[in-house]
Symmetry: C2
Subunit: 250 residues, 2 copies
DNA sequence: TTCCCCGGTTGATCTGCATCAAGGCAGATC
DNA sequence: GATCTGCCTTGATGCAGATCAACCGGGGAA
């Protein structure tokens, strides 16, 4: 049980055993582990490679081991909206549906741990833990999507940028060692300006301008284009428009 | 099994027995039905009444029997974004979380069928069908949320309005008897202009203007402010910006 | 070295939607 | 019937962010 807790809190510690990922870590406690081992396989992708096109047949579910992938929707005239950002330990795929609803793209080099859908579904029926764990994860994703909807519908460009930086900082921090002290955070942006724009419902020019503005105002510092230093998380949070309490340190 | 299928396709036929709702209809096949019967209770709310405030303790899960409820998020300065629209048979609540993340409001008179959370969770552990069914429903909601994100991030005001009308027309049609012929659809808007604005990330003035524009262009007809006649679903769909194929008639 | 290409920045201008403001209409209350 | 109130419409104006365009700088290839 302690192991399970650990793997939940520190998923990067078990990249060599993706089965213990958040995705299916309930299994760590079950004797079905060996069965799951039998149906898993790995795939790796290069940065920029499209993993699945919307509408494609998709006969597996998977968990991200290392790297970053995105889910995007595209309109006929080319307008794009990112609708999901998959970091290590995130799950992708839909038991019970055979075609993909979104384009899935590797934005960095990526390793995924896949399970063929059919046997995975069978295992899911046989192992109630898995469905419950997946339900929990899906509900978390739904919460994230709804937060994202507030961002897209009501926030200003500056608030959107600040929110995205805060999200990345938080997720990044949770992958890393003990919290850096004094409320300052350093990380590398895993997204291009254009990808940030697709995330935020903006244009890349607006993203660039607002990044410059936040820099000018001392909310962030930039080394090169990707390396971000946040001197004070609190100042950044104030820019997001979110409730400040109950936020970052949870 | 036939009963289960029917209740899935025609949820309004079993409003007197919400247990057969989509929400938990997997139970129709199980012998746990009587147990579920024991822990359910009904609550009704008046139009405009707030059911739960964000952050409140929420010790039940529920299924909408009749009426419409909304989930909204509010920023400190009052900006509001609707993040969920609950129609009959929709499920609300989160096994495994004790406080509500959003304001839940009845926009019409509303009846909900509730289950106290604790016993519901116990039943869920004992009855794998339920978790799987909830997982399916949650995944559907996640898909809807992502569609909604595309709308919020990338669509024009006119496309947003057309999309909302199409969504309501579709959901309304699925509750009603055989499909009206010739591609024309008639329904009553269940939302005020302001609620539509909160759904779409617009202001109520813009909603009003775009409704007028769609009317002037013959895409819709209005009788009063709420009664909508769509002479041609296809013309409406063309205004949404969505892929036209694989849409309305599925 | 030179060139090119890609990702990023910055400037000038345009425009779609927000904002501010003034009614209109229908149903409720007295 | 008079008034009020909630919901909606329409007009005038302003502005945030989109669009169009020029340019920068670093890294890889020839």
């Amino acid at each position: 049980m302690a192991i399970h807790q650990d793997s939940h809190l520190v998923p990067h510690d078990c990249v060599d055993c993706p089965i213990r990922h958040r995705a299916v870590c309930a299994l760590c406690e079950s004797d079905e582990l060996s069965k799951l081992e039998q149906i898993k396989y790995y795939r790796s992708y290069q940065a920029g490679q499209t993993i699945i096109w919307s509408g494609d047949r998709m006969d597996f579910v998977a968990s991200v081991v290392t790297g970053i992938a995105t889910l995007t929707q595209t309109m006929e005239d080319g307008r794009r909206q990112m609708v999901g950002l998959l970091l290590p330990s995130d799950f992708v795929g839909r038991p019970g549906r055979s075609t993909a609803a979104y384009d899935v793209t590797a934005t960095t080099d990526l390793v995924m741990c896949c399970f063929r859908k059919k046997p995975f579904e069978e295992l899911m029926s046989a192992t109630p833990h898995i469905a419950q764990r997946l339900l929990e994860m899906t509900l978390d994703e739904l919460d994230a999507a709804r937060e994202w909807m507030l961002l897209l519908g009501r926030k200003t460009a500056r608030e959107k940028i600040a929110s995205l930086l805060a999200i990345i900082a938080r997720r990044d921090a949770s992958l890393k060692s003990p919290r850096s002290n004094k409320g300052s955070v350093i990380f590398d942006l895993p997204l291009t300006r254009e990808e940030m724009a697709d995330y935020l419902g903006l244009t890349l020019e607006t993203v660039s301008r607002q990044m410059s503005a936040l820099k000018k105002d001392g909310v962030i510092e930039l080394e090169g284009k990707r390396h971000v230093i946040v001197p004070s998380i609190n100042s950044l949070m104030e820019e997001t428009g979110d409730d400040t309490d109950g936020g970052f340190l949870v």
